[in-house]
Amino acid sequence: MSEIALTQTPIHIRHGSNIGQPLTRRDGVLKVTGAAKYAADQHPPGMLYAVLATSSIARGRVAHLDVAAAKAHPGVVDVITPANRPALALDPDEKSNPFMFRLDLLQTDRVRYAGQPIAIVIAQTLEAATEGASLLAPRYETEPARVGLDDGESTALQVVGPGFPAQAQRGDVETELAAAKKSITQTYETPAQYHNPMEPHAIVAAWEGDTLSIDTPSQGMAMAQGRLAGLFGIAPEKIHIRSPFLGGGFGGKGMISGPQVLGAIAARAVGRPVKLVLRRDQMYGPVGHRAPTRQTLRLGTDGDGALVGLDHHTKTMSSTFDDFFEPASTPSHTLYASTAIATSHAGVRADIGTPIFMRAPGEAPGSIALESAIDEMAQACGMDPLAFRLKNYAEVEPISGKPFSSKALRECYRQGAERFGWERRPLAPRQMRDRDGLLVGWGVGTATFPAVMFAAQAKAVLRRDGSGVMEIGAHDMGQGAWTALAQIAADGLGLDLDRLEFRSGTSDLPDAGIAGGSGHTATAGMAIYNAGADVIAKLADLATNDDHSPLFGAGNAGVVARGGRLFRRDDESRSESFSDILARAGLAQIEGRGAGGRPNPMEAHGQSDYAMHAHGAVFAEVKVDPELGQIRATRLVGAFAAGRIINPRMVRSQYYGGMIWGVSFALHEQAIVDRHSGRPMNANFAEYHIPVNADVPSLEAILVEEDDPHVNALGIKGVGEIGITGSAGAVANAVWHATGIRVRKFPITLDRLLEPQ
């Protein structure tokens, strides 16, 4: 059972149907009072502090660590290095599936990227552990680092992302491009980016015999449990994970990371609870990132501006020891109709930590390049960028030819353009100025993200006192799972929210799958919905077969649950409360179970009769100082269609957040890696820029209605990642429209806009 109690009554309780209501966050009070406990807030009795020492070189080996100096520091209890690290049951470099990543757990003295953990110092205080780690003063045998897309070793790719084919095509793109009336070829570059959730990865681990209890942020507790079980050689049930609140994840907490496992190793070594929290600079190495890309797009149109050929090639990077290649060409499969389409990926391997899923993997960098290229193609055709997009509207999924399960993109374009005032946009760039003389530009981008589902289970209970319980080990990283899933649960059980106990956030509850791929609400929601249906069916069985019940003879399908009562569908004057049904049956409670998701999580990418994607249109205004080049994204309007919306308040927040990530992608964030050492040189929040409040003065999100009968019974597609796609391109296109300068290397910084004057 979850220990997480929502200590105070949620401010907003809806009686009646809960789905679709803009309830405030159930965990809101906990979060605004500081009472929400994140992993690093835990402090079990007897706890010690562990601090990692990480490598400052990108390639070579650790020749010496001054363990004696570290141990001599007052308060230091132990130092773990490859020389004394306790044995594990599994080689951390073994890999049996694409969702299993190789970890650096002090297995050798080899260094394969900057920031790799090379030792753990454990002490009685944080101050002592921190200084102890510094006193290790490593000496290295350094080998030349391979840095960047041009320095790494080339590698042919069969798959990208979590297993998509690296190449795809429809039609003969070369022939079509050769015959095109107009064509463009352009190359775009996107930088390495780091997830940088505000909460650094943290773990508080405690062993009792061979039972491991941990507090750690996780977007996938069951997978983490499995990984830890394999490494420590114990049964998954022996591992108890609590992750009620994540301080942001964005994909970076999807797989358990090396440092989190090292915290558990440290706790076992010293036989006491241990807290290990990464420093911000340590977030730029062992916990994943988004790899840089170089994308070349070739587009061709006929005389009317209809695309005949679209070729999208991506060169991207992974580590020297593991595979995750950003699937950046994939948005070209979905977005625009073209007679022929080809996508491909090539890889290089460099001395860098392994990249991993980061909010809209593939779609984010791929979309900014594609949306820029589409604008350049529209310009070549002399067409308005929105008109060009509508001209090339995909009525079926271009790469597969399958119908869309639903697609309200046209309506997104319409509502977004109207709200934004797009019709007043001059075609030529550098035409608009505000009253202070700043250049003003407007751009549009199309948003898209697949409707992915994983697999989940849930357990539902109805009690004789009329209350209900829903149990699911779901993950709330800020998207609002505590709230939205509880809304689904309350409706599934036919209860008002204040009669529902919603248990979530720990690994002993039914597996909710991974909170990723924007699929958590759909996946966990379906499990909850089915668990609710299961328990209601059992309850209906009791009532409709009992001749003392007013529902006798109605049959299972003849009743509906609402407000803690079952009603006859054909005669709502006949009903009975859950309590009465259970009381008469002599039952204290009744249980049901449900599963959700698709057997193959990649189904959205190929194995269904329908192509399933959420869509949107984002319109952006930027202002640029004509001489100084400084840029500000002054206004964004996004219109998104993502199937059924469970909680519009949370969903708007997801869209705003995604749109800000889009601004960040276009204008702000990038990791600066020293070309000689391979070390990230801006591994901090002062120089790795993410937008501040003043960077995004105006955001609007329009929720476009969309009914999807195919995607799942609830009609949910997912909203977590789509906001970043479209937005990044819209901002980039707006910068061009403001200045007449097309920047193809992201982020767009002011030095690229300093035209000679």
Binding site: T130, S134, E627, V692, A694, D751
Partner: protein, 352 residues
């Protein structure tokens, strides 16, 4: 962080004596020092905490019309001091364009003068840096140096000074009051920071143990109040260090520039006063052509220290714009985005 002796002196004299020991450092707010200590960039053996010393947190208007700002006055308190901001609007604007509200609430005036460069190679103990570790070399030279110096740099160091406050102070001839074992001395702020030369580790003229006790602005500095601005170009709308900044202050009599002050930030290891440019402006009419000519002179000696040639172009434009903004007049109210190109030019001017 290395552990240290913590000393809390009762008087400036005691402080100076305690801080004269090798390895000692003064602790004021600590907003920069603790950052550096956590990063292993500096590892002092002793911290001399001056925050409890009396009388250093006052803004005094002296009889001769000058203003004396105690070393422990908080940046925010100075910027929001109505009288001070009215008389020295460019300084207030510079202060408010820097860091965040939280940092400005803590950071002291003396500490601002002594803040260290943001050069990533200085901050990274694994990199060669002549400033941090004399004689080790300069990895910034062949590294990422988009934001590095274009004026006054040397082969040993191409870092810049990060302060906004100091830029406006230097433009207005601020003087630093220093207490040392030999007593009190004062020095123009313009001469306080050293250019790197062969010894970038020596950042200021302070001798061991010497302590900044106050910064003084001469009476004359207030005469620019009607035409004084600070402009700061950044990679983010707020909470970012300057790529290039400039303070410009003019005294305009019957449409003619009677006196001009220009200083630049983000271009060198010290706030860079552009005296030749000031000379060009004297006696001229305030117009764009003249400002561009002055700006060109201000950057005459500039040369890239790496992939940062754009900063020369940018600095020229920043200076010309700052002059134009100053000529247009100080706004009546501090702009919502102080120092920003997005601080609307339109608005009511101050009636000073």
């Amino acid at each position: 962080m290395k552990t240290f002796d913590y000393v809390r002196p009762a008087s400036v004299r005691e402080a100076v004596s305690a801080a004269a020991a090798p390895g000692a450092a003064y602790l004021a707010a600590g907003t920069n020092l603790l950052d550096l200590m956590k990063g292993g960039v500096t590892r002092p053996d002793r911290l001399v905490d001056i925050t409890h010393l009396p009388d250093l947190d006052r803004i005094e208007n002296l009889a001769d019309g000058s203003v004396r700002i105690g070393a422990l006055v908080r940046n925010a308190d100075l910027a929001h001091d109505r009288d001070f901001a009215r008389r020295f609007p460019a300084i207030a604007e510079a202060l408010l364009s820097g860091a965040s509200a939280q940092l400005r609430n803590a950071a002291s005036v003396g500490g601002n003068l002594l803040q260290r460069t943001r050069c990533a190679y200085f901050y990274d103990p694994a990199s060669a840096c002549n400033k941090r570790n004399p004689g080790s070399g300069c990895d910034a030279r062949g590294g990422d140096n988009r934001l590095h110096a274009i004026l006054g740099w040397s082969e040993s160091c191409i870092a810049t000074h990060p302060s906004d406050f100091c830029v406006a102070l230097v433009a207005l001839d601020a003087v630093v009051e220093i207490e040392g074992r030999a007593g009190r001395r004062e020095i123009p702020l313009e001469a306080f920071h050293r250019l790197p030369g062969d010894s970038p580790d020596r950042e200021s003229v302070l001798e061991p143990g010497e302590m900044i006790v106050a910064v003084r602005l001469p009476a004359e500095a207030a005469r620019f109040a009607a035409h004084a601005r600070y402009l700061k170009v950044r990679d983010r709308t707020s909470y970012a260090f300057a790529i290039v900044s400039a303070a410009a202050a003019l005294r305009i009599e019957q449409g003619v520039i009677a006196q001009a002050r220009i200083a630049m930030g983000g271009v060198a290891l010290k706030p860079w006063r552009a005296r030749e440019a000031e000379q060009i402006l004297l006696g001229g009419r305030a117009d764009t052509a003249l400002f561009v000519r002055a700006a060109t002179a201000a950057l005459a000696e500039a040369k890239p220290s790496g992939d940062n040639g754009f900063k020369i172009v940018l600095a020229r434009r920043v200076v010309a714009r700052a002059l134009a903004l100053a000529a247009a007049g100080t706004p009546e109210r501090m702009p919502a985005l102080p120092g920003s190109p997005f601080a609307a030019a339109s608005g009511v001017l101050a009636h000073v």
